[in-house]
Amino acid sequence: MSLLTIAFTLLFYCATALLIIGLAVRIRLYAKTPVPLRIPTTPAPLTGAGVVGRMFFEVTLFRSLFKASKWTWIFGWLFHAALLLVLLRHLRYFTDPVWSWVVLVQPLGAYGAFVMLAGLGGLWARRFLVDRVRYISAPSDHLMLALLIAIGATGLGMKYVAATDIVALKAFFLGLMYFDWQPIPTDVMLLLHLSLVAVLMIIFPFSKLLHAPGVFFSPTRNQIDNPREKRHLPTRNAHSISQAKQT
């Protein structure tokens, strides 16, 4: 096995482990951190089913963002929808035989990458053109967009400029999954694409990409508005009062 194959094999095992364990640790922390008081942003649903509905529209349609800013919403929503499509399309490298619905999204997914890049381009443009957004952007906010654009661009590069050996690539990934390691194709564009993806996976649990799990844990969005009907039990007891008085 070549050094390159060994390096990428290890890289993807590490990246996957960091992504999964990192996210699991973070999500566990969110779940375990107490919520001392009821703070839904009202008007809020009065029932659990209502909250599921509220969350559904937040996650699938970015409803609050829609209320806030139509441009950000258009670019942001297009980017995420296209990202989802592109990710689903990539499932064909990890399944054999390829699931039939994954086959169905293939033609759509081909356009996904362009839409994704357009969305990302719009979001990045705002970071330069809108003075308020420029003010709040840290270098990491620019780099995150650059990284995603680079991933999309190298992906498109393989499709339209320098095609890679897809059959061998699939063998590499299936090999990773079944611990039956296979050589990785050596095209530069592919190696670049895969390296960038590994970087994205590694930084995911340590960056603002935590908004993906975060949105589900946000108390202002996921709490039911029923404090009078059902007492929200205190997460700490009254002894802290006397303590506070003494210090």
Binding site: L37, T41, E58, T220, R231
Partner: protein
């Protein structure tokens, strides 16, 4: 008037370009040592304040899922940047909700995240140094905790939660805000924010009874510490003195009178406001909430009703049951607690009040949704009742009512500019500028519909508007209490 320019009212809302640092000078007075110590905080800046602050930050985040998720999740999308009335009124970019959060988040990142520890420059992580502390003191006292930003954030990030945490950290290292902390101390020892002792309260209420009798010829009682009354009314202490608040209090009394309800005010819990929330102090908030429980037990009431006050209603509606419950000794047939508007609304639904709307024909009304009622609580038993019920009460009391434009009402309502513990004379510039979006919306209603008066259901809103309306060319008495309108319209005499 002070040494700043009142912003011009524009015919339509404009998002101003940023002007860095223009409000950095705005700081409220720092609390004196006695004030701090009285409510459980160090009197002055502690020696190792940086470490104490960082430790406290960790403790707060460990105990609040909201803080933890909010600090991690912001993607700097900018959706909130033009949503804060203080940004719109001042142009200072640190008044953009996300930038305000970032004053906190950058320190959090520096000390509590991998990226911030090893690559501070990359992710905008910063140390909590003297300069940063100064910025904290300025800009966390330029947030009225109105939650408008949280409506628009795709993750519901509520800058109010962050401001509260920042204020608690500052209190913990000995840097407190005079206005809030002095008031909390008074309310905890005397029972109300104004520091009115029982005899003064009794005197005031008797005076009001005389006024009502003089005006209407009917004896309407405003009972104090009446054992065995059914209802304990907890109302902001401004209702006992300030204009137009007191006209609202008279309104509540007339409603109870006509409905034949037995009620009382308590001198022990003669304050609905709970400034403990503004400084993010669970403990202080709980001490104040406990007084209400104590008063209810002592007087043996069956129900608790809150008067017109925004943040008080938030604390009452959402927190009281957690902080001082369970209230299983009260009558379970009534929600705990109830808002006075709910009581009046129910009575109106049952035709139990005789109203003559023409009594308010000298006015054309609009309604200011108070932030804490609109975005942090509810009235009635249906989603959005907090918008419907006060409007229904107003419309049952007058013939001419028009809403302000939709971008400034209901869940999108703009703060009065004085909420969140900022209603103090040392912050007048901020208060005037922060009320700009509300004033523009009011001006539009005045131009479009000939509105003459704006009704409010919050003691802070009413005081704030009385003060700042003249800066914008309005009269101070153009703000009225909702129950002032009820008071005018209700036809007393011949009941029972």
């Amino acid at each position: 008037m002070a040494d700043f320019d009142t912003p011009a009212l524009k015919p339509y809302p404009v998002i101003p370009p940023i002007e860095i640092g223009v409000m950095a000078h705005s700081k409220p007075y720092v609390a004196k040592p006695e004030i701090q110590q009285k409510i459980g905080f160090p009197g002055e800046l502690v020696d190792n304040w940086q470490q104490v602050a960082i430790d406290k930050m960790g403790e707060l985040v460990d105990n609040s899922r909201a803080l933890r998720v909010f600090l991690d999740s912001c993607v700097k999308c900018g959706a909130c940047t033009d949503k804060c009335h203080y940004y719109l009124g001042t142009s200072d970019p640190n008044n953009m909700p996300v930038a305000r959060q970032d004053l906190f988040r950058s320190v959090y990142r520096r000390h509590y995240t991998l990226a911030g520890k090893y690559f501070p420059g990359l992710v905008g992580a910063r140390e909590l140094d003297q300069e940063m502390l100064d910025d904290w003191y300025s800009y966390f006292h330029q947030c009225s905790q109105c939650r408008r930003c949280s409506v628009y954030c795709p993750y519901g990030i509520d800058t109010a939660e962050i401001s509260m945490a920042a204020r608690e950290i500052m209190d913990t290292i000995g840097i407190g805000q005079k206005y809030c902390n002095e008031i909390i101390g008074k309310a905890q020892t005397i029972g109300n924010n104004l520091g009115l002792p029982q005899p003064a309260l009794l005197d005031t209420l008797e005076g009001l009874e005389e006024d009502i009798e003089e005006e209407t010829g009917v004896t309407v009682r405003l009972p104090l510490d009446q054992h065995g009354a059914d209802i304990l009314l907890v109302t902001p202490s401004a209702d006992f003195f300030a204009e137009p608040h007191v006209d609202g209090l008279i309104g509540y009394a007339k409603v109870f009178h006509q409905a034949g309800l037995s009620w009382t005010i308590s001198s022990h819990a003669s304050e609905a406001a709970n400034f403990g929330m503004f400084i993010g102090s669970y403990d202080n908030m709980q001490i104040l909430a406990q007084r209400i429980r104590e008063a209810a037990l002592e007087l043996g009431v069956k129900r608790i009703v809150f008067g017109e006050c925004g943040h008080a209603w938030r604390v009452a509606y959402n927190f009281l049951n957690t902080l001082a419950g369970p209230f299983d000794f009260l009558d379970p047939n009534y929600p705990l607690p109830q808002h006075i508007c709910e009581v009046t609304y129910d009575l109106l639904q049952r035709n139990a009040l005789r109203m003559d709307k023409s009594a308010n024909d000298d006015k054309v009304l609009t309604f200011h949704d108070s932030c804490n009622v609109a975005r942090a609580s509810r009235m009635g038993d249906f989603e959005g009742g907090q918008f419907v019920i006060p409007r229904a009460v107003i419309q049952a009391s007058c013939n001419h009512f028009y809403d302000m434009p939709a971008h400034a009402t209901k869940e999108a309502t703009f703060c009065c500019g004085g909420g969140g513990g900022l209603l103090t004379d040392d912050l007048v510039e901020l208060r005037v500028k922060g009320s700009l979006p509300r004033m523009e919306a009011l001006k539009q209603a005045v131009d479009d519909y000939g509105v003459t008066h704006m009704a409010a259901i919050c003691a802070i809103c009413k005081s704030q508007f009385s003060k700042i309306l003249p800066y914008y060319g309005f009269e101070m008495d153009q703000v009225v209490s909702v129950h002032q309108l009820v008071s005018n319209a209700i036809q007393l005499g011949g009941e029972h």
